[in-house]
């Protein structure tokens, strides 16, 4: 290979590497724009249509799904109402001091004191109480920091979702692969999120379509006040070992 040939190959390689780097930077920028935008919103509402795989003991993977309507009023109010595909209804309400989980079909609820605001309450709800609150990361104010720590992002490509041009971005954490579709125009509010639990048996996925984003929803105090229905029974939460405190 002559000197000119080497130079040409090096230039080509550098240009390719530079483009890949630019795509990586763009993906990271898009993610951070989304995170910053969400973290700064004083209030928001969104509807999430989610589906998730559950690996059965037979080895068969079964999909379940639910619709979640989320209303957040920072710094200390959140409400999530859930309707599963089987029609059962449940939810979570936080009023700044008390977390309530309720199940309207089982006619039970539980209350746990947790002052300190939405971020602390939701982390406590999921990590300590071992309760479910999918995509809670989108509701916490330190989302930008959490995403930075997650793993490098890459741009998969530009894709159309329901006629909307989006950037398809992929990121890989220690135990999960996360993909997001963020509109190229307008507010960087995710339209779709897919999480693959790479280390879990069967590598199940959680997939969510997010719609109806509203950054100025009606959010009166009464929305975040839970009053048990007549006959509703208060039950307790059983946590994994050593997590109750």
């Amino acid at each position: 290979m002559t000197g000119r040939t080497r130079i040409a190959v090096v230039i080509g390689t550098c240009l390719a590497a530079s483009a890949a780097l630019a795509e990586g930077e763009r993906a990271a920028d898009r993610l951070q724009a989304m995170a910053t935008f969400l973290a700064a919103a004083p209030r928001l509402a969104v509807t999430i249509d989610a589906a998730y795989d559950v690996l059965q003991s037979s080895g068969q993977k079964i999909e379940f799904g639910e619709r979640r309507t989320v209303t957040l009023r920072r710094p200390d109010r959140v409400r999530v109402d859930v309707t599963r595909r089987d029609g059962s209804r449940r939810g979570v309400v936080y009023d700044g001091t008390q977390l309530v989980a309720f199940d309207s079909d089982e006619n039970v609820y539980t209350t746990v004191e947790k002052p300190g605001g939405v971020d602390a309450a939701l982390d406590y709800f999921v990590e300590t109480l071992d309760m479910r609150l999918p995509l809670r990361e989108l509701l916490v104010a330190d989302l930008p920091q959490r995403l930075k720590a997650f793993g490098p992002a890459r741009l998969v490509g530009e894709e159309q979702l329901d006629g909307v041009a989006t950037d398809h971005i992929a990121s890989r954490g220690e135990a999960t692969d996360v993909e997001l579709w963020i509109p190229r125009d307008g507010g960087p509010l995710p339209k779709r999120i897919v999480i693959t639990y790479r280390l879990a048996p069967g590598q199940p996925q959680f997939a969510a379509d997010l719609a109806g984003w509203n950054l100025s929803p009606e959010a009166p105090d009464s929305l975040f006040t839970f009053t048990p229905a007549p006959g509703m029974e208060r039950i307790r939460v059983m946590t994994p070992q050593g997590k109750a405190n």
């Binding site: 539980t110 741009l155 879990a200 059983m238 050593g242």
Partner: protein, 199 residues
């Protein structure tokens, strides 16, 4: 000849890069591994696949699992489980225990006794079997640590239970075993408790 080929490769590479840049970083052409991501694979076929329709469990599908959490990184408790790779062993243990509700009480007591030193660490929060057990809700503790010895979860009861309401709590009786409902992993489960106090 070789020199000419190298120039062609370099020019094509540069042209592709320029094209990508001109499209604002949009990934390359159709097919293949656009943007470095493979697009093929088993699931991409979208085929219903072979004829091996699973027999599986009739009804009673499990609703719980890692993907149900929908967390970006997975719940910490789940990650521990994955690393321990003990999911199947736990499931077998659950199945064994659910087969014989009446026998379970005795088995459970034996199991607990093996961990005698550990089980009295924080009795207020223990909840089951022959533990020092708060048999009503007067202590107002909303959260129960399942303790060193993990009580077997019961997502359903394997009998048509008799129910008794004591102190606002519904107790379910299957044979000699008594249960109450708790939240566990975000779902409603039954956990074994001492019989309700007769007043």
């Amino acid at each position: 000849m070789i020199r000419a080929a190298a120039w062609v490769v370099a020019v094509l590479l540069a042209a592709e890069v320029t094209d990508v840049a001109a499209r604002g970083g949009r990934a390359g052409g159709r097919g293949g591994a656009r943007g470095g991501f493979a697009r093929g694979g088993v699931a991409a076929g979208g085929s219903f696949g072979g004829s091996a329709a699973g027999v599986g469990q009739r009804g009673g599908y499990q609703h719980r699992g890692p993907a149900a959490s929908g967390t970006f990184a997975g719940r910490s408790s789940q990650r521990r489980e994955w690393h321990q790779d003990n999911v199947e062993r736990r499931q077998e243990r659950r199945d064994d225990r659910q087969e014989h509700a009446d026998d379970r009480r005795d088995d459970w007591q034996e199991y607990v006794e093996e961990h005698d030193e550990e089980r009295y660490q924080d009795p207020v929060y223990y909840y089951g079997g022959y533990y020092p057990y708060v048999d009503d809700f007067t202590d107002d503790a909303a959260v129960i640590d399942q303790g060193v010895v993990e009580p077997p979860p019961n997502w359903t009861l394997d009998c048509d239970p008799a129910t008794v309401v004591v102190g606002g709590t519904t107790y379910y009786r299957c044979g000699s075993a008594w249960y109450v409902r708790v939240y566990r992993g975000g779902e409603i489960a039954y956990t074994m408790v001492n019989p309700p106090a007769v007043r």
